[in-house]
Symmetry: C2
Subunit: 359 residues, 2 copies
Amino acid sequence: MTLILGNEDVDGLLTMRDVIAALEPAYRNIAEGRAVAGGRVDLVGETSYDSGARYWLKMASGVVPDLEVGTVRINSDIVTWPRHGNKTRRVKAPLAPGNRWVGLVLLFSSATGEPLAIFPDGAIQRLRVAGSTGLSIKHMARENAETLGLLGTGWQAGAHLEAASAVRPIKRANVFSPNAEHRARFAHEMSEKHGLEVIAADTPEEAVRGADIVITATNSMDNIFFPEWVEAGQHLATIRDGEFATTVLERVDLLAIHDPGNMGDDHIIAPPGLTIPDLGKEIAEVEGFDQVLKAPTLAQVVAGRAPARERDDQVTCFLNYHGLGFQFTATGAAFYAKALEAGRGHELPTDWFTEDVHP
Amino acid sequence: MTLILGNEDVDGLLTMRDVIAALEPAYRNIAEGRAVAGGRVDLVGETSYDSGARYWLKMASGVVPDLEVGTVRINSDIVTWPRHGNKTRRVKAPLAPGNRWVGLVLLFSSATGEPLAIFPDGAIQRLRVAGSTGLSIKHMARENAETLGLLGTGWQAGAHLEAASAVRPIKRANVFSPNAEHRARFAHEMSEKHGLEVIAADTPEEAVRGADIVITATNSMDNIFFPEWVEAGQHLATIRDGEFATTVLERVDLLAIHDPGNMGDDHIIAPPGLTIPDLGKEIAEVEGFDQVLKAPTLAQVVAGRAPARERDDQVTCFLNYHGLGFQFTATGAAFYAKALEAGRGHELPTDWFTEDVHP
């Protein structure tokens, strides 16, 4: 049988601790050359929805033999670039029936080839991004880190607070987002949920001042964290290219990235002449990018194959964007195992997704 | 609703003429820079099935905006290399439940992003390969071609006979395969099915002698067609790297390929140090490969952007291997439209494959 699972099946089933426990050996496998990461490809073409929009078909994949699984993640999006005042934002339009988006993970057995499960990428995405930041904290932040400065109060921010708490004895988090109501609600909800002190700060600088760990987890297209705010001994993490002013990296002693091969626009395949509004704004364009590409990967850090923090006053940093398919493989395998045990999802005959010929 | 279709739904529904009619505008779109091809990625890792086997997760994709679709094809295979005497063959082991293989096509709408259908790749694969050869015959072979020399009597060979007949007034086919019984049965069955003279030849040379069109459609790992057999005015097509002795190309006046970027091993991602028995035996290794890479693509030929046949005595040739994802897009869209009309398949709620969040 092949399981069809939903985002709602993740809730209450897969904890952040489960995710970090699944990601850690997979990261180690990558560094050891046992798991296979990569394979990101984006095909971009016109869409009949709107001449200014683009159809964006994105794939990423991974194989983790130790977990006996491989996955393909597929996103099938209509991307639009509406203008707000003099700014342009990148917005995925929910045009599937019921105003929904399309992101799927297919989980296969690397022992038999069979499709074990198909599920949306949303809930897993949130967990794997925050889980990776959690891993970076576990391996790079000071052991005694107990305060968190968090910019962002959305979906990812909540998961990041949980991830930090899963690996360090966090006692207090100072949070900021531009909307005062959002940050007040977030502070209230997270205090209740995690039983720690969460304080809404009035400015971003106030949120990060004195923090042992600083995380930016927003949708901002603008720089929101600056080098003059960096303090000795901090661990920094960002989930989005551009949240950190690029000069922040000049303050960093130990940097880790996902994969040097995955940070440019090389994976984007589009017809010649097709315009894509937000290409060319990548960090690849900025000064110092060569140095970023030479940084160790988080996999090397986790496997002990990159220099570790030696002193409490060092600044460490993880650029948690342009992630890799094997994160879905590890997180997806953990989700599948839990869902199977709990009897979740719709069971379909595996025969529907296999065949008696091989082309 | 999202349709789950099977290989059996293709039979009696999608004809070779439908496939060629679907492929032709898609090929033209590719040459015009309107459709997007490519994105082939193979991840290869260990499998717990056997230490000498490999888990092979293969993806190819395409977007054809004029058809309002994008597709991802995924193959999840356990590849083995058993020895027979002093030869090694590449064999995909059918290890999914019921001794089945795993190849899937996911068809998405480029207007809304939604998943329209999921179906196995088998029946479509056979049609798209033969359909592409058919297109090459339509655009490269002599108008009056009426005899076919066919090496191979399997699944692909049958489809190729059909494809040639769909675009040229084929009157006779001479067929050869090493097993006399196979070729006799094939000749009998194809004569009945297509109402033309199909003759089992005693040698491969006899099968191709005097033919206007020569097609090799086998699983052979050895050369089976040689330059001394080439005759003026023939159109040649092969579905597998190595069927033609490489020196055959010296006899060719007009050559077409699928895509120069898709012929090497660049798309294979494996852990460093993992052995893969049959890598490095690709045509990329042989003399004259540079010239092959400079050949026009079939898309350019179809769009009239490459030199066409000028004289009846020219030898034309199409290397129909390392095909492209957009062939599945075009063929899959035609299949989906027919299946929808005929009420085939299992209907599942599209909500199972979409989500109300976007990561």
